[in-house]
Symmetry: D3
Subunit: 136 residues, 6 copies
């Protein structure tokens, strides 16, 4: 199995609902460093999994929709705690769709699985990984 990973980051504000969160119930924020790992069982005839430039550009576009915002004000996350785990899941959905839609070229259409790892601090990070169901 091959994999290719590209990185970017976002800087957001948010707060959490639930006593378990303690001080994180207050409005605070995070730099989320995002690593997007594309997986495929083989490379194309150029020996590419996905085009790195295209992958970075598309990831940036998707992240730009939430970068420099307060996630609490985003109706997409209505009633949902934007934990690091959930943010990884959310980005996974966006980038998987981009692969299926051809926004990452033929390479993206051949991606079979995607892992999004999100670092919230030097000592804590979360990830979501899952297969990409490519269309017929």
């Amino acid at each position: 199995m091959y994999s290719l990973t590209v990185c970017d980051h976002i800087m957001i504000a948010h707060s959490f609902q639930g006593e378990e969160f303690g001080p994180a119930q207050r409005l605070h924020g995070a730099t989320f460093a995002v690593e997007a790992e594309f997986r495929a069982p083989k490379l194309d005839h150029h020996q590419l999994l996905v085009d790195i430039g295209l992958a970075k550009t598309e990831l940036r576009k998707l992240l730009a929709t939430v970068d420099y915002t307060n996630l609490d004000d985003n109706s997409v996350f209505n009633g949902i705690n934007t934990t690091t785990e959930y943010v990884a899941f959310h980005i996974h959905g966006l980038l998987a769709a981009a692969c299926r839609d051809g926004r990452l070229g033929d390479g993206g259409r051949a991606v079979t699985a995607l892992k999004i790892l999100v670092r919230e601090a030097p000592t804590a990070w979360a990830a979501f990984e899952g297969p990409i169901e490519q269309g017929a």
Copy 2:
């Protein structure tokens, strides 16, 4: 699959038995930087895998039992070389038990697998990963 990782470290002395170890047969030591990765197929209603604060506190408690010690003097490791691989395995056992026992809350009881990665130096590390058999 979701994952959440928290980090800590210990500073220990030890030595190895066996000619293969060369100079590492002498009493020496290591900073073991520990990454504990919890995995689960879904999040709870708060969008949490395990509570990060609880995970860090419990990991610290477990590591404190060996931190700032000479592992050669610990009867738990009697006749066992405390290689980085083995230390990862050992911590895995302790933290898996904490998950099963409820010391990491309901989140810990929903953890299905655990990976312990231990960095011994900038250029070498080891890990042990395995499922957590949650009780009935």
Copy 3:
């Protein structure tokens, strides 16, 4: 010249005033990874610059006053953009005072300079460094 550095981090929300800031004028946030570097020309008779445990504890106390908060709501920063550069300067002031006041022990009183480096993202960070004027 000797130096000793300890690390911690905070997760805050804030926004900036001024067109130069572009999208960062919106409420957003950051994980600020903080490195506090204490400098002194000599060590004490124990070969210590400052006690690492004491340094970490004091740094944590100072950071806790802003951790998990919206800096825009903090009267201390009234009318001030809490850029990474400024946050480094602010923490420098708090920790320098702790050194002078004896909160870091005799080691802290012997510190002659302090550098606070604050990482806002994997690709950008800022710092403030300056001498500590120890009292008579």
Copy 4:
């Protein structure tokens, strides 16, 4: 499952064929930081997966065959774009053979899978992982 990882790096020149590569069609180069992760379901009686010293020595030997060279001039890569993904695959083949041939000792013969991760830049890396078919 246990794993053990050792690191090294190479500094090479190369160019790519294909319009998709844009400016990377020109002769350029890369520092490839290589992480070799050996996996096995159990440790030997010394609690070792593979001998770290032996693993580093063998990895260095294999990398030395391409270190400080222009990959475009290497007949092994004739007509093949030496993308980071492909370089990971290539090193995987060399190191898997070394495991099977006993060049990593009995530990190497017990390795069941190998992952080679190659970092081309702070924000991009690729990997190839696969089982090692040990001889009868």
Copy 5:
């Protein structure tokens, strides 16, 4: 003293002249991860040293002149070994000029010193630092 650092990288081919270089006399290459540290004794009224976005854009423009090239073919480096030390010095000259020329705004004109650190590998890097002589 304040400082602000931004990062980028280039991927180049080159070779060295002189027996001291051993195998590095052959055509090879490097990923040079570049850290540009701007220093100034005070911030502007927005609490900025230099605008991070502007600094990153300008650094990218300067690096683009050599990115994905063979430095041996660049007349700028005619007869000069493009060691990591020298590359740091070269980038320093380009970025210092950009500060003086106003390409980094008023912030750039207030920069008093600049350090360029270039990482060639995880275990080796070089830097050049020096004052910026701002025009009258």
Copy 6:
């Protein structure tokens, strides 16, 4: 001012004398990741500060004298707490002598200052820096 940095690490056991050290009074150990930064105001005609290969080889030789040992048993450190600060100072003395003695070639004789940074853990490190008094 130019600088060049090379890295290596040692794995040692030791203990500390003095109540201030708390649990670190017990025999424990550390991985000390060492960064040796050589400084000089100019490069030689090859555009080198010091030869990286030579610098790494010499650093390794000096570190080998304490690598995989218990520092408590080393008469060199008799009655001295081998804190991270002190270890940095100790290595500084050894490497400065190597520069002066010509063991790092003409480049080493032109080095005007040396900084040794020693990382004991991901969140704590110490350094000693000072001029090198080159002989007449």
